[in-house]
Amino acid sequence: MDHVVVVGGSVGGIRTVSGLRAARCDGAITLVDPEAAAPYDRPPLSKQVLAGTWEPEKASLGDPGSQWNARVIAERTTSVNVDAHEITLRTGERLGYDALVIATGAAPRTLPGAATHDGVHVLRTMTDCLDLRQSLERGGPLVVVGGGFIGAEVASTARALGVEVTIAEALGAPMAHVLGDQVAALLTTLHERNGVTVRCGAGVRALDGDGRVEAVLLDDGSRLPADTVVVGIGVMPNTGWLEGSGIRLDNGVVCDEYCAAVDVEDVYALGDVARWRDRQAGRHVRLEHWTNATEQANTVAHNLTHPDDQRAHTARPYFWSDQHGVKIQLMGYADPASSVTIVRQEGGRERIAAIYHDGDELRAALTINWPRALATVRAALEAKTPASDAVKQLERSQRAGCSSSA
């Protein structure tokens, strides 16, 4: 491959570049991203960097120029011409490619009218993180709009800073639509035990305040005082620059199981922006998980360097989240319609594993404070172990855990 152009230089793009070099690709690699001069990782932005326990530099993903001999263009890409095999930058400059890798990720949804108030934040970039940190230092109260993982982490980090926090979720309970009611209730309890107020079932009607936000007004007529608001209502894949290019878009770049964009030649996509066909799941999926972005990057790097040995990407969906000092981990495709069996390890620190299954077929697990259980479930998913056996294994390890600590 003579010239690979990677658009998007966060974890997915960077791992593609390093993966290509690890596969001994010695062709030219160009990385295009307005932030490519100093790429960084996002998970710490709602955790360590927001909390102030990490300096921003600690979230660095490395230096693509010196580490992987990539040419770096710190510019936005505005379009692609798939027939001519070239992209256009914001400056109008055009750049040819032999293979194009799309790793432009996703951008937060915003509330209509939110831009008119100071103190209203989304959280995706380092700048967002440092701005939010400044707002939180004013002392609060903080209202988090939306009960997703990132909002939950912000709530947890803000509580640790001593800020009063309310989470306002329009639906039943935070994450109920993805994780089901039982697990959503566990997560809500975790928040409440740590002093976060959780308000469910009322959407946001408007923001109140003159200049800076002063309150969030809900559908049910209530008014939540706020000095800072974080809007965490999901993200949209960054595909605007691909519109009209012939690349098929449908909630992301539509890819085959090899992470190659359909309908066009020599274009790949990965990470939050890609909706690829997962053979095991039997459908197209788009995941917003760090680990999936890195694994897809490995797949794309492999497929670019091994034209005669194409590898399909099957996800082992994995997500982690740190909330209120507890590690929450999700493995597999959790379906709110599945049955859930809960295993608890009592004594000392409470550990919980929620096992998702359809009949005896193991689907997924969410663990709270129990990484060891996650490893067990991960192996069980891989080996297609029946759910009841996986539950038994956990109960056994639970007894072993108790006796060893006794």
């Binding site: 760090w290 990484p371 060891r372 490893a375």
Partner: protein, 65 residues
């Protein structure tokens, strides 16, 4: 022989390494990586290499003896 190395400060307990090589890596109760065998044979390089690459935080690595 290949030496198996870890930095438990960096380990976040993702368990990717355990899946890649469950006879070499395990997790303790706090979710930190445990090395079951401090050295492995050259014939196992591919497997432990995969474990190292699959660790999201680069908390494990190999050293040649």
């Amino acid at each position: 022989m290949i030496k198996i190395r870890k930095d438990i400060e960096t380990c976040e307990g993702y368990a990717n390494c355990v899946v890649a090589a469950s006879d070499v890596y395990d997790l303790d109760d706090d979710g930190k990586v445990v090395i079951l065998r401090p050295t492995v044979d050259e014939s196992e390089r591919d497997k432990v290499d995969e474990a190292v690459r699959s660790c999201p935080t680069a908390a494990i690595w190999l050293e040649d003896d």
